[in-house]
Symmetry: C2
Subunit: 588 residues, 2 copies
């Protein structure tokens, strides 16, 4: 039976919802697919649920083809396993926590590594049981600080999460590859462009991680790629360090007056005006060493100041810093932080002063000093002298100061070299639609998942975890398939195959609409039939364009001549076909 | 492709789980269908998920046939709508409550009346939009005090909940009937015995309510039924009151000594020994009026003592009392309650004393006194005289005391008359598998759901709500379909149609098992193929019996003669059939 709009629970809206930031959100609400219930929490109306079910079916088919078995775990989970892996704490405010009537601690699971690990531990005991990949399609919860853009960043959202279990590293590679291949098939079938980028494993732990990013201006993720095939999330980009240079014979550092130089630009101007290079080459921002003071909050609650030194023509990029210092939380140092550190002269901070080392190894402050990979031994810098209104010129890395380590904190820019030598990178924005992780043995170690290996010895299992944001994907497809009139669903995920409109007041058009709808359903197509009486053709056309079913059949005045129109939503082409030729015109 | 046991995520257990109280729980865990994650919270393993999906599919089909559209609402909902209807408070400790990072109050929804009501209010405005029935199959949360019996009473469980919306009472009747009819079809298709009983609408509010109970010794619900067709939950059973009798000319009440009569039985013994009836008929417990002091806690937190008077041969039944006083919570009065009420002489409480009325209308205590329907005017009672070690004989209702009202607090017993005159009732135990409510206008009133009626006036919508416990049903089917070897699934919900076993070590049996499995899949059957090497036939037989697929095909030694065995799990019958005749033997 066709679905009749006259009694379908669907109402289109003429106005955009006030809170909609992006097209997918605006159109999915206006066309009656979803409705907001709370920030980042949505209800699915019947037509929205159909699209979601079709996406889930594609995912299920490809998971089955990849040899994964479907399970279903609770959303409500006890604290204990997440305590063991420390994620109860690490997840911070992003975790929804609650207590039951007996005061027991529970969470709404953001992902399920812990309980999948424990389930396999419970049921399996031998290498012969492995490899295993199991998955679920299930509602997840994350208390996002800023839920945004409708389904793109929700607090309750549907996710496909799969977990693989292997004895050997080679086994994990194979399981990882099988999921990665399945993801490529899924996104291709769903008509979703994607770029696979290297990613930082971040709080998930583990060794290798790749993200599937859908390039999109509404994306929150920035990634870099080279024409030669390199692609990475900015968090995962690594800088090629220059070769160290010998510093024998370089002159001693020189402390010079530098009043009124609050910025790198004013410092460079002063340097060129007052202290020009002997060889005439102008000083640039890249000749200065910028020292940024950050405050880390560690998991145990302790606060640590660290200083990051980087070339003055670069800025600290917080996303990269956050990954570099995870699981600690990072923020800019506050006045209070400085107040407790009289050894740091604000505005003139540097690793060195005429009295000795201020930062880094064997320094008087003991503050950790981490530098950008470009700050290699032998490089010379203009930087703060830790004296009011004074900078030091010709400060040499490896001679005058020794950093405590390297940190990838600087921003990445178009034109920077790809670390694999494949040429300069460009920057683009994308939305994460899938993420594959080689977790390794972190979770199995923490939770004691071991099996007997071929030699009868206990071996810790190695794991992978693989996620696809189902509801996010739906929004991304809508984002990529719409025009100014409404949604334009690709056939693979459309809620219906055909939208039949009966236009006009004549009973005959409704009779024809009815018979065409029945015939198309009989031919195996899913039909939405607009049988609403007393609506103008214009209203029905506008609704059909907004709803976005790929093919629209219009039964109107033409029926007197035995014809109807077949309208392709994507191209806008309209073709006149005989009433009994509609199924054929739609390829049936 | 058949599902191969060699790499299926399924492990059977030889031992019963320690916490299993009922067969369904024991067998579903042992056969690898479910695993406990927390009290009342379960994970679904692949084979369990298949059964659940089949049940859901039956429900979906019948909901569609009943004209209902599927939607999906969040489990995580904001407090506000539940505050408006007072359920945020009324649900008490049964509601999982939590806060988000901004301190906003949320709940995990136990049912969704509020947000369905608001959604219809949001989208609909006219009587022409109605009737409407929408439903979801979704995970619900209730913080049960005593989660028990596996899936029978869980804290996270899957439910089909439907909601109907009508303008008129007749419309509600029709929508209610359509759901009720669908429930009958669903339970019949699932092979579930059921009794439809009158129920109390309880905390849901509303006017009419019926429960679908599956008669079962493991049920928590007691219901009564008569041979003449009456059936009701004990909470909903109503007592037929006797006719009042004239009390003109009855003697005045007589206060008599009654030491050492702590129980009704001792009181009756003393009465017969010391104060026999003049006509020689013995006193019985039914001649005494038992006065039970209860403490109500109202929603606003105030505590009220009430006294319930009932014939001494009856006990107060807490389930009936709870319904009678809902939404107040009820418990037995405590010592502290008595301490504050010196007017009540414990052990000798009654509505009357020689000094005047103690309970009921115009009493000195002002304590509400509610009586069993059998305590009609003119009935004579032996009851406490509110004096230490004294009872009063011949106390006449309506003359010596006047109750404040009637309460259905007494227990119901086999042989009690059905209220509709259809004969004596018997008692049985059952599990609630479905519940249909005529909510009426309670929710629409509270949340302002009105539409324009035919006359252009605003009319409040009338609603119904209809629930089926999906995961509970699965357990009930298992409970009713098992033997001492394991599960015995009815075909309609079985995880697979056929379980093929290759027994023995000969490669040939595996080749035959493989080809039979492939042939049966090609014939449209879902096949579980036990291709595990190196297991004895006995282990495979035991697993097959435990797992409970309806038909089992055994490829063993017989293949040398070109035959296999087809084993009917339910009857135990084994038939020898030619290898190429298996599909035909299974009706394909």
């Amino acid at each position: 039976m066709p679905t009749r709009l006259s009694n379908y629970f669907l109402r289109t809206l003429r106005e955009d919802p006030a809170d909609a930031e992006v097209a997918s959100h605006r159109l999915l609400v206006r066309a009656g697919y979803i409705r907001r219930q709370a920030p980042g929490v949505f209800a699915w109306l019947p037509i929205g649920l159909r699209v979601k079910a079709r996406i889930e079916e594609v995912i299920r088919q490809e998971m089955t083809a990849a040899g994964a078995h479907e399970v279903h775990f609770p959303a409500l989970l006890p604290r204990e396993p997440y305590e063991v892996t420390n994620r109860w704490t690490e997840y911070g405010e992003g975790l929804f926590r609650l207590q039951d009537r007996k005061g027991g601690d529970y969470l709404l699971a953001p992902t399920h590594e812990e309980v999948f690990t424990l389930m396999v531990k419970d049921l399996y005991s031998s290498y012969k049981d492995l490899p295993l990949t199991i998955y679920q399609i299930q509602d997840k919860y994350r208390d996002e600080a800023r839920p945004r853009a409708g389904l793109l960043r929700g607090r309750e959202f549907t996710m496909k999460d799969a977990y693989s279990f292997d004895v050997s590293d080679a086994g994990l590679d194979a399981s990882y590859q099988a999921q990665r291949d399945a993801y490529e098939r899924i996104f291709t079938r769903l008509g979703l462009d994607y770029v696979i980028v290297q990613a930082d494993a971040g709080a998930m732990g583990g060794s290798k991680s790749e993200e599937f990013l859908h390039p999109s201006p509404v994306g929150e993720d920035t990634f870099v790629r080279s024409a030669g095939g390199y692609a990475a999330n900015v968090e995962a980009y690594t800088t090629i360090p220059p070769e160290p240079v010998p510093f024998d014979g370089l002159p001693a550092p020189l402390v010079l007056d530098s009043p009124n130089t609050p910025t790198i630009a004013t410092l460079v101007d002063l340097a060129n005006a007052e202290y020009p290079r002997p060889d005439g080459r102008p000083w640039t921002a890249a000749d200065t060493l910028k020292n940024v003071v950050l405050a880390l909050t560690h998991l145990d609650g302790t606060r640590e100041l660290v200083v990051v030194g980087l070339p003055g023509d670069r800025d600290v990029e917080m996303k990269r810093v956050e990954v570099a210092f995870a699981p600690a939380e990072v923020e800019a140092a506050t006045e209070a932080d400085f107040a407790g550190r009289p050894g740091l002269v604000k505005g003139y901070i540097g690793p060195w002063s005429p009295d000795g080392a201020v930062l880094g190894e064997e320094s008087v402050t003991g503050i950790r000093f981490l530098v950008d990979p470009r700050v290699v031994d032998g490089t010379e810098w203009i930087t703060g002298a830790n004296l009011d209104e004074k900078h030091v010129f010709g400060l040499v890395a490896g001679r005058d100061f020794v950093a405590d380590g390297i940190v990838e904190a600087a921003d990445v820019r178009a034109g920077d070299p790809a670390p694999d030598g494949s040429g300069p990178v460009e920057l683009a924005r994308g939305v994460e639609i899938g993420h594959v992780f080689q977790l390794g043995r972190k979770y199995a170690d923490a939770l004691g998942l071991k099996v007997l290996d071929e030699n009868g010895k206990l071996a810790t299992v190695t794991m992978g975890s693989y996620g696809i944001g189902v509801t996010r994907i739906l929004a991304i497809i809508a984002e990529g398939h719409h025009d100014d009139k409404g949604l334009v669903w690709p056939a693979a995920v459309a809620p219906f195959d055909v939208h039949v409109l009966a236009t006009g007041k004549d009973d005959a058009v409704f009779a024809v609409g009815e018979s065409i709808s029945a015939a198309l359903e009989a031919a195996g197509l899913d039909v939405l039939y607009d049988d609403r009486p007393k609506l103008s053709p214009g209203v029905k056309f506008a609704d059909a364009e907004l709803i976005g079913v790929p093919k629209i059949v219009i039964a109107g005045r033409g029926i007197a001549e035995g014809v109807v129109e077949v309208w392709d939503r994507a191209s806008g082409d309209r073709t006149t076909v005989p009433i009994d030729g509609v199924a054929a015109a739609l390829g049936r």
